[in-house]
Symmetry: C2
Subunit: 385 residues, 2 copies
């Protein structure tokens, strides 16, 4: 199917963290714009209608996440969710502990928030990952049980390489230690079953084809938080969020949740093809766990290739791909995720398949990829290697 927002002749395979809007997100947004443009804090009919749409969105999201409606908050972005979650929980826990235990391949937002939010005397305790990018549950449990821990943070799955984390086992350990567990499910919700093993959960609407500019946090009733910013009636989103965007996020989440298992099988099979075919290209490393992974993400690194050059070469051929965290315009540093895994940090390509991605799209990409790699290697003068 041709996606309405991807131009003809282009194939968008960089759908992690930001995907084209789901058709129902667009419909929901425009409907909510008619009914929900007003300030939901106002008491008149238009304000109450906007508030009702926002409440409905929270309820729908809660239903998918397995949370109570009142546990769900909208925020300005997934990064803002993670910053606020780390800050508000560590602030509430400052008398119980000062360290923040994290996995080594958490998002930069979690690592930086942990660096910033650990109370005086506190520090970030980083649990290493194996070659697939997975923390050892026992090692994580030991770090959490060491005492003086304010918060533990472990992602549900890694958005760069797809590897899932042992959140069930880790949540058992954090519960036993009385430490709240923040689960960054920003790459998982909408694609994988997340389950109930969390105290604070963050989900990213832009990742499932909903508007950017809105994030979601769920905080279990029993988990205390204390806002750290200026006094505000909405400490998770000072000034509020766009009601149409929140509503579109909820409608799209329900839609993708309904066809999740079909899309899991379909995209998992496409990713198998990619893994098998890419492995035949010389001097390549396909990274991430081959089985315990997200259904739609696959990452590989080429020796003797500059990642940015390869992204540009593929772009010229009509394919948009990502490159771990390495290849954004703002951070050209090597990915801390790939570095923590001990795999090649350069020449990296990440593919995240959208619901609109077809097997023909993937076939055409696999046909083009070896030539693109050869071209970039030629440019570097390494064709003789």
């Amino acid at each position: 199917m041709t996606h309405p927002t991807v131009p003809a002749g282009r194939t968008h395979l960089d759908n992690g963290g930001r995907a084209p809007w789901h058709p129902l997100a667009r419909t929901a947004f425009l409907q909510a714009l008619d009914d929900g443009w007003a300030d939901p804090r106002r008491l008149h009919t238009e304000g109450r209608r906007a508030a009702a749409l926002l409440d409905g969105a929270r309820e729908a999201v809660a239903g998918v996440l397995g949370a109570r409606t009142e546990e769900v908050r909208f925020t300005p972005s997934h990064t803002a969710s993670l910053h606020a979650a780390v800050a508000h929980v560590t602030q509430a826990r400052r008398r119980h502990g000062s360290d923040v235990v994290v996995g080594a391949v958490e998002r930069a937002a979690v690592l930086h928030a942990a660096d910033r939010s650990a109370p005086p005397g506190g520090r970030r305790v980083t649990v290493p990952v194996d070659h697939h990018g997975r923390v050892d549950a026992d090692a994580f449990a030991a770090a959490v049980s060491a005492g003086d821990v304010a918060l533990a943070a472990l992602q549900h799955a890694n958005g760069e390489v797809g590897t899932t984390q042992p959140v069930d086992a880790v949540h058992e350990a954090t519960r036993a230690a009385g430490v709240p567990l923040l689960v960054d499910a920003g790459a998982s919700v909408g694609h994988a079953v997340v389950g109930p093993a969390w105290d604070v959960l963050a989900a990213d609407p832009a990742d499932w084809g909903a508007p950017a500019g809105v994030g979601i946090v769920a905080v279990r009733h029993r988990t205390r938080t204390v806002p750290t910013g200026p006094e505000d009636p909405e400490p998770w989103a000072p000034g509020g969020v766009s009601v149409p965007a929140a509503f579109a996020a909820a409608v799209a989440l329900q839609a993708v949740n309904e066809d999740r298992s079909h899309e899991d099988a379909r995209r998992r099979s496409l990713v198998e093809d990619v893994r098998a075919r890419v492995a035949q290209i010389p001097d390549v490393e396909v990274v991430g766990d081959p089985s315990g992974r997200l259904p739609h993400v696959v990452t590989f690194s080429f020796l003797y290739v500059d990642g940015e050059a390869l992204v540009s070469e593929l772009d010229r051929a009509g394919f948009a791909v990502g490159s771990g965290s390495a290849c954004t315009a703002s951070t050209l540093e090597p990915s801390h995720v790939l570095a923590a895994m001990g795999v090649l940090t350069h020449g990296n390509v990440r593919i995240a398949l959208d619901r609109s991605t077809t097997s023909a799209d993937v076939e055409r990409f696999l046909d083009v990829l070896p030539g693109a790699v050869a071209t970039v290697r030629d440019m570097l003068g390494v064709q003789g290697l």
Copy 2:
């Protein structure tokens, strides 16, 4: 004209801080959604196209504000703009001063951010206002010149009562004292000429009929800021903002700026009518400066009337009105603005006219208002007063 997003039979007169989308905002949003849904930090064609739209939006906003493109930043909301502006400037100035000087009728976001951000030993110094809600420029200058001041904040005009502030004179004083001036122009930009008397300027797209969920800050090149949150490539909007929302904000701002002088005269004349007619209702106080004010805002307070009840009564009659900061669902406290002015804090109604508001809308409102006031007074049993 019937506005497409206001239902038939309803008249929306609560357009301060949140107005129905300008028709061009809708068009621009949908156009930008096709071209700008991707992550603007990505290097592929779709990412670069989104980045170009965002840059174009910054350039257009800068043109209207009289700023350089690189001085303009998008944020998640107007409240977030004010929080970040106060925090980032006071952090940069912490070796020069610790107090924050503010006007008494600044937004709660500025007052709370000043309370929170004043460095250790610092305090918020609040300059009082007169009966119209205006600070005395000399008194403000004296407070700024007292030494040990990190930041001064003065709004361009008050969004609750419309009164403009002496920002030109105050900016001269803050410049002489070497103290940066934050000007909250959230109620002014799009409606009034703001001028160059600022070091940091905050503007609110939702106020001029653009999407909520995006704010604007301009920081003069010479004004230093130091982010206070977790390390992030975008400290004014961690995680970024919605590109279509930012683009729609810019397009709508250009549109409203083009017909600003026409809309100034038209709405100023409607407000004159309201002020004259409302003054004839018994036991009413029309508040705010009758001449030095925004063109589209008018506020009045009734004795022997509960503000919330009056808002509800008018709502039943088909009119949506505001009630200062008093009458939001989240804060039912009396407005600190009206209290600082020494006027009635209860029985308050605020009207903010949209571009789509007609003289017929206003006439119908003025016909209904006396009866609504009488009904609410009857309910309170004060008809004999």
